[in-house]
Symmetry: C2
Subunit: 334 residues, 2 copies
């Protein structure tokens, strides 16, 4: 079926020039409506498909966006970022763009090796999905194509970022616990691991402050080491009545741990998560959590990176996408 029909073939067929065909097919001015219609009809009849490569060369744009995800966020039990990528990829199509995924291996990250899509000039811009090492940020910052951080940020550089509202999400979730009568509330998450964990912690802390509840360092519990690998979570000797976990997966682990120790959730202890991912409903009882608006995260990123491509000096700073609390049965009123 229709091997390699070009504008020239259509032009020859009707006896016009390729210029006219190009104008007609792209709805540009300067072709009579009648001729335009005829060209379009013939094009479709001949099974014409644009050669976007030729267009790309002419315009100096690839119509591709590179989406970079550090390998450590793509383990068998973490599909959130892959899903975000999926949304981005789907959303980009509406703009005639495509998303090319690059999983950044830990060794490349260490060695500050830029992805092949960069050296191949395969993309017009990059979305970095997930916290990445500082040195790597620096080299990405130095390259020419525009870049955007997604789901994290770094204050020492002036790169635009799209993040979900970790701070207010955790703040409101903690407020909710307090309204349910809790005052002994722990936070689970290693504060130096990612900016998300840090911001969620600060939201939790703000809620405590507003309610004049003292922060207890022994109730701020590490969940992962500096490589991002999960630790065995240590339940404090003096049990709080509620745990604010920095993500659903960790909430799932906390619930398992507590149940293993004989506690009933939420009767003996309440647990909340963050993300509303698969772990929220795998946990029994299902978790009260914060739903990140993934579609909007994707849409906002797409619009930001595309406008940075079309208008190189565009700056957005940090764009925050709101989440919402999903109420389920992991919290008891006391």
């Amino acid at each position: 079926m229709n091997k390699n029909i070009t504008m020239k073939d259509i032009a020859d067929q009707i006896g016009v020039s390729t210029v006219t065909v190009s104008k007609a097919l792209n709805d540009k001015e300067g072709v009579s409506d009648e001729l335009k219609a005829r060209i379009k009809a013939i094009a479709s009849e001949m099974g014409y498909r644009v050669n976007t490569v030729a267009r790309s060369m002419r315009e100096g744009l690839t119509y591709n966006i590179g989406v970079i995800i550090p390998e450590r966020f793509t383990g068998p039990d973490q599909s959130f970022y892959l899903r975000v990528y999926q949304e981005i990829s789907k959303g980009l199509e509406d703009y005639g763009y495509y998303g090319i995924l690059h999983i950044l291996s830990s060794s490349d990250e260490q060695a500050q090796q830029l992805p092949r899509i960069y050296y191949d000039r395969k993309v017009d811009g990059f979305i970095l999905l997930g916290q990445i090492g500082k040195p790597y940020i620096e080299i990405m910052h130095a390259i020419e194509p525009p870049i955007l951080f997604l789901d994290f940020y770094d204050d020492h550089s002036d790169i635009d970022a799209v993040v979900s509202d970790n701070f207010y999400g955790a703040y409101e979730l903690t407020n909710f616990l307090i309204r349910q009568g809790h005052r002994n509330i722990a936070y689970v998450g290693s504060l130096h691991a990612t900016s998300s964990i840090q911001d969620r912690f600060l939201g939790y802390y703000k809620s405590l402050l507003e309610h004049h509840i003292a922060l207890r360092q022994d109730w701020v519990i590490n969940d992962r080491n500096e490589h991002g690998n999960y630790l065995d979570i240590e339940i404090p000797d003096e049990l709080p009545t509620a745990f604010v976990c920095n993500c659903d997966q960790v909430a799932y682990l906390v619930v398992q741990k507590l149940q293993g120790m004989g506690y009933r959730i939420p009767d003996d202890c309440s647990v909340v998560g963050f993300d509303n991912d698969i772990y929220a409903t795998l946990t029994v009882p299902h978790l009260t959590t914060v739903e990140v608006n993934m579609k909007q995260l994707a849409q906002t990123s797409i619009q930001s990176i595309l406008s940075k491509i079309s208008t190189p000096d565009t700056k957005f700073g940090r764009i925050v996408v709101k989440g919402k609390i999903i109420y389920r049965s992991s919290v008891a009123k006391i």
Copy 2:
């Protein structure tokens, strides 16, 4: 940093022609070693990056592969295909290729609407990941770029396919159950839903036949409707001693259901799954299952589609990738 350095810039810098630069950078014959080294040094110094778009236009290749996944396989609790895509995408880079993901919406599938990457000539070939409707297969079959089915096949068309060894996997798993003393073994999976479910069923059936165990129709249990949506699984009145489930997620549901009815797994009833995905270890007890060799599935697909691109009439037929049984604690000896 280095905006748009071209071969011409390098050529001008040294005072040679672009032809020589091209030959040097691509390690082609016809440049003295000395000059080649000098050109490479200058290129790297100037921060030269190839313009693959120009190369693509010249060669008529995009160096992209389209990976199409039907939307219904990408729900929040199904990440298997996304992971396969990730493997493919990673593996393609070693060949200078990239994978462009296209999620085929159910409406496009219905309307037999080909993906935009097709009309945009964005890819040199397609990998169809996951069972797709017959009419859609027909239209994909009719297009010019080579296509490959991954993880399913269709015998009425002559399209190459890479599949995991569903038949022998289920066969060996059932043999194992029988060796553990089971003779009352049910199969869970809707036989007309996908070729995988069908083949796994036939492997199970072959094992029964070999052991002279009669197939009981009431022990072949539906798990999904014709749209692929999960049904509430009906546990038969007369309980078998073991369930062979067509995938881990369904095994997880079966275990939940049985436990909800008061049965202990594996003491009262054994359950096995297939895939060794996240559900295998989320299920308590962890599932004995068949691990699909995802990396090899990806590698084989990559090699197949690339050789179909370079040698258009290459045919492979159906390539089967072996799996292996993972023994865990969901099976009891009786």
